[in-house]
């Protein structure tokens, strides 16, 4: 028994569509027990009329011709549910956005509405009650990446009582933020605000911290991920190491200083930086003498804790998680190959902004005194070049790094604070200072700190009498300018961190053209990845400054908490389902599924069949088309339903059939 209700939507619909006529036509359609025209179906009285008809006429399915289903489908489903019907026994007919609002001829519009009504009535006959599926979820979250995004997400999730495993590939958490000196626009010390959070992660009873570790492989699906975590060999027993640094002091092998962005040098066995969490040493075999043919065992001999174990092997841990947060952050763009006119790295006094942070930082290689790398002299003239590898179509990088303008302004300010008689110049494209208090800060950099801003790109950097000449255009003055600099700082753009693409593949999520992981919806689902149960936090989704990263990570954490709090997941029932008796076991569905939602199963007689994991399936229906015997079909959009729509909407074809195709 089908109930048909047509909405007048005041005059929005009834001005063009004769709703009474459509209702009368519907009343004559097979299975329709009641057909009514209602002034506003979505209003309380309107919904009451529908509910009454459902109960009174024992309706088992309902067609509502009104606005777009994108508008009110959810409303009417709830109405059906309240009236005791399965909410999926509803079919809507879009006669407002796609009919009354776009046609002026009343008879044409009415005929179209009638055609659409007939199609909906035919379709609803094939509807079956659908039940939201519930699956148990593992109450543990994985956070990949230990920068500020991962830290924030982990702390928020852990605070809700949900256990978290944090995986960080480097020896310490802290990420890029730990390398920054001060933060804009408040100029508070980056590590001072970050360090307590790092320590909290380490000490939190709900957080398991795995450094020197990477995600090897991901299986399973939302609520039930199985993740292999590879723990790299560092030759140091984490349980024993006390962080005394004796090994680092005595180690004879020099090694590049990753934390200081290549400035200065470190040792083969070292603690990443003084505030590292966990404060344990790790040994880099590629630089260690012992692993390069020498007999050196100095660190093992000297370690008071006996923590050095040269034979330590890599291990793979398998853990189960209900949800995964990717917080892999960013890397600075490697500018050298794309900007040959900036010297391709041959001038030591052309540094990147991250290197400059280390020169500014008290924990950096110069102890917080700005010294240029070539000769250790204190620079007087410092030139900042914005947008190196950002907003530059000529090197194929149109994107904005979103933080360059502000960190450059900050670095210019700090330059004057460190060296009062210095002069900072900034070549900029546009000042993008959209955040709270950002514009005021950037303005202060000019007014109070005397930074000279020059609008234009730098064409060349070349040496002249021991200085570097920065040659560029001042597009406001319309002139070429040359500035003799002691030190040049390139504000390099941001890339997704190395390996993010590979991780995205493991997580079955997409990356955009710039390599950043793609959120499910740019406005409404900014932290959800396209794979259920996977969330994005921070700059892995796109360049972000610290406040935005923290907010984004908090949002991701809230989604994880929301998902795992109930212990079970409710999946939309509008997913694919397999009729096993029709399945030929060819698994073409499995091949095309973008979400890995189809698994291989065996019937008791040994016959292989496809099975849909309801909580992973997103309901796109690609499999439905790929299945030759039509065994797999998408609930709510089955072949039967769609064929019924086609057949009915084209009836009656008397009078206008022009094509006779079989």
């Amino acid at each position: 028994m089908i109930g048909f209700f047509i909405c007048q939507c005041g005059t929005n619909i009834s001005a063009t569509v004769d709703t009474g006529k459509v209702a009368a036509a519907a009343a004559a359609m097979r299975g329709v027990a009641v057909a009514e025209s209602i002034q506003y179906t979505c209003s309380d009285p309107g919904q009451a009329t529908i509910a009454e008809a459902i109960r009174g006429k024992r309706l088992d399915r309902v067609v509502i011709a009104a606005c777009s289903p994108r508008m009110h489908e959810a409303t009417f489903r709830r109405a059906l549910e309240r009236a005791g019907l399965n909410p999926f026994m509803l079919e809507m007919v879009n006669i407002r956005e796609q009919c009354s609002w776009i046609h002026s001829d009343a008879s044409e519009a009415t005929r179209k509405a009638t055609d659409l009504a007939r199609k909906a009535v035919a379709r609803v006959r094939h509807h079956t009650p659908l039940l939201a599926r519930k699956t148990a979820a593992v109450r543990r979250a994985l956070v990949i990446g230990g920068g500020i995004a991962g830290i924030q997400a982990a702390l928020d999730i852990a605070a809700a009582g949900i256990p978290v495993t944090m995986v960080e590939r480097s020896p310490s958490i802290g990420g890029n933020m730990a390398r920054l000196d001060k933060t804009f626009p408040t100029l508070d010390c980056s590590s001072c605000i970050l360090a307590p959070l790092m320590v909290e992660v380490k000490q939190h009873e709900n957080i398991e911290l795995l450094v020197n570790s990477e995600v090897d492989d991901v299986h399973g699906y939302a609520g039930n991920f199985e993740v292999d975590i590879r723990r790299k060999s560092t030759c140091v027993d984490e349980e024993k190491c006390t962080g005394c640094m004796i090994c680092q002091d005595k180690c004879p092998a020099r090694a590049p200083d990753d934390f200081n962005a290549g400035l200065g040098s470190s040792k083969a066995i070292s603690i990443a930086f003084p505030q590292a969490v966990p404060l344990i040493a790790s040994l880099r075999k590629e630089h260690c003498r012992r692993f390069n043919g020498n007999k050196c065992r100095l660190c093992q001999k000297l370690c008071p804790a006996g923590a050095i174990d040269y034979g330590q092997e890599e291990a793979v841990l398998r853990r189960s998680f209900g949800a995964i947060v990717a917080a892999t952050g960013y890397d600075h763009y490697d500018w050298k190959a794309s900007y040959p006119t900036y010297g391709m790295g041959m001038y030591p006094d052309v540094v990147t902004s991250l290197q400059y942070e280390r020169l500014l930082s008290a924990s950096g290689p110069t102890g917080g005194r700005i010294r240029r790398p070539s000769d250790g002299a204190e620079p007087r003239q410092v030139v900042f070049v914005s947008c190196v590898g950002s907003r530059d179509e000529s090197v194929g990088r149109p994107q904005c790094c979103s933080v360059g303008c502000m960190y450059t302004a900050k670095q210019a300010v700090l330059t004057r604070e460190h060296i009062p008689d210095s002069q900072a110049y900034v070549f900029y494209m546009d000042m993008r200072a959209g955040g709270k208090d950002y514009e005021e800060f950037a303005r202060r950099a000019q007014t109070r700190y005397g930074t000279l801003f020059i609008r234009g790109r730098v064409g060349k950097i070349f040496p002249r009498r021991g200085k570097l000449v920065v040659m560029g255009t001042d597009t406001l003055a319309g002139d070429q300018v040359e500035i003799e600099a002691d030190l040049v700082v390139l504000a390099t753009g941001l890339d997704a961190s190395a390996g993010a693409g590979e991780l995205a593949r493991k997580l079955n999520i997409a990356c955009d053209r710039n390599g950043f992981m793609t959120e499910e919806h740019p406005k409404l689902r900014p932290v959800e990845a396209a794979s259920a149960g996977v969330f994005l936090a921070g700059a892995c989704q796109g360049p972000k400054d610290i406040p935005a990263t923290v907010a984004h990570a908090g949002a991701a954490a809230a989604k994880v908490i929301g998902m795992l709090a109930r212990g079970e997941l409710e999946a939309s029932p509008m997913v694919a389902a397999v009729t096993e008796s029709r399945c030929a076991g060819c698994f073409k569905c499995r091949g095309v599924c973008p979400f890995g939602a189809v698994e291989k199963a065996r019937l008791p007689d040994g016959r292989p069949v496809a099975r849909v994991i309801g909580s992973v399936c997103r309901g796109c229906g690609i499999c439905n088309v790929a299945c030759p015997p039509g065994a797999i079909s998408l609930n709510g959009f089955t072949d039967k339903e769609l064929i019924a729509e086609i057949v009915e909407v084209l009836k009656p074809d008397v009078g206008y059939r022009t094509l006779d195709f079989g």
Partner: protein
């Protein structure tokens, strides 16, 4: 043996005869056949066609392409400006049916424009095996630091010229390295020399060329190497004017690529016409 149609253009027949001479010497050394284009005309780079407007800027080079036809392995224009005009005309003809038709009308027959247009660097890289060059080099460039100066129209606009990296061209380097020279990174290798502004606004040329020389010296260069007669003119012939205006004392030799290679191959500065240059004090190592 490969044979190329040779388009000398006005420069190599007048102000840059030493370029023509040295090119023929080097080509001969490596068995590169040069067949001077019969009845060639202006490449179209002179101001006249541009001021007259219309199709002249295309018709002139198109006629040269047409004469070259498919007779040889391609057409070589050592002057960077000539090369650029030929290449530009070819590009326009290939994508503009109407222009092609008009050109055909002007020529009295359908225009043949598909011949391979090569610049000098391209030709030498194609025909000279660096190992062979290294074997034959007499060591006269060893110990010399040469600044490779490409100028503008040899590599730009990149979508038309399609040769070398427009921001950091490097194609001269393998030849000169094989010939024994040291090539430092020279950041001004494509910086503007002032071009034809020498006629109307001399001060612009002096300023631009001065900076090129200044940076070259900063980079420890003994001589600059170019393939463009106009660049040569601004950098060499005007060096004294630069010295006069700026009070500098520059004596930086500027060589055509073929002169530099000629030196390496054992030709004398006289044979190569280097003595005719304004800065003819030979680089110390000669």
């Amino acid at each position: 043996m490969s044979v190329y149609s040779y388009f000398p253009g006005c420069s190599l027949k007048s102000g840059a005869t030493e370029y023509d001479r040295s090119f023929r010497l080097v080509a001969d050394c490596f068995g590169i056949g040069l067949d001077e284009l019969e009845d060639w005309n202006c490449c179209g780079a002179s101001p006249a066609p541009h001021h007259w407007g219309g199709d002249l800027g295309i018709l002139l080079p198109a006629r040269n392409l047409h004469i070259a036809g498919a007779s040889h392995d391609g057409i070589v224009a050592p002057c960077a400006g000539c090369f650029n005009r030929l290449k530009y005309a070819q590009h326009e003809l290939s994508r503009n049916d109407d222009l092609r038709r008009r050109t055909g009308q002007a020529l009295g027959q359908p225009v043949h424009y598909q011949t391979d247009v090569l610049n000098l660097v391209q030709l030498l890289n194609r025909e000279i095996d660096p190992e062979d060059l290294a074997r034959r080099a007499r060591g006269r460039l060893s110990g010399m630091t040469l600044g490779t100066y490409y100028g503008c129209v040899l590599v730009r606009p990149p979508q038309i010229v399609r040769y070398d990296d427009p921001a950091n061209p490097v194609k001269m380097e393998p030849l000169l390295k094989a010939a024994g020279a040291t090539i430092p990174y020279f950041p001004f290798k494509t910086e503007c020399c002032g071009s034809y502004m020498g006629l109307a606004r001399k001060e612009i040329v002096l300023r631009a060329s001065r900076r090129i020389i200044e940076v070259a010296l900063e980079c420890g260069v003994d001589a600059l190497v170019t393939v463009c007669p106009l660049c040569y003119q601004n950098l060499d012939l005007r060096q004294r004017q630069i010295n006069d205006v700026y009070g500098t004392d520059y004596h930086l030799p500027v060589l055509y690529l073929t002169q530099a290679l000629g030196l390496a191959l054992g030709f004398s500065p006289e044979e190569l016409g280097i003595e005719a240059h304004a800065v003819n004090r030979p680089p110390s190592a000669l």
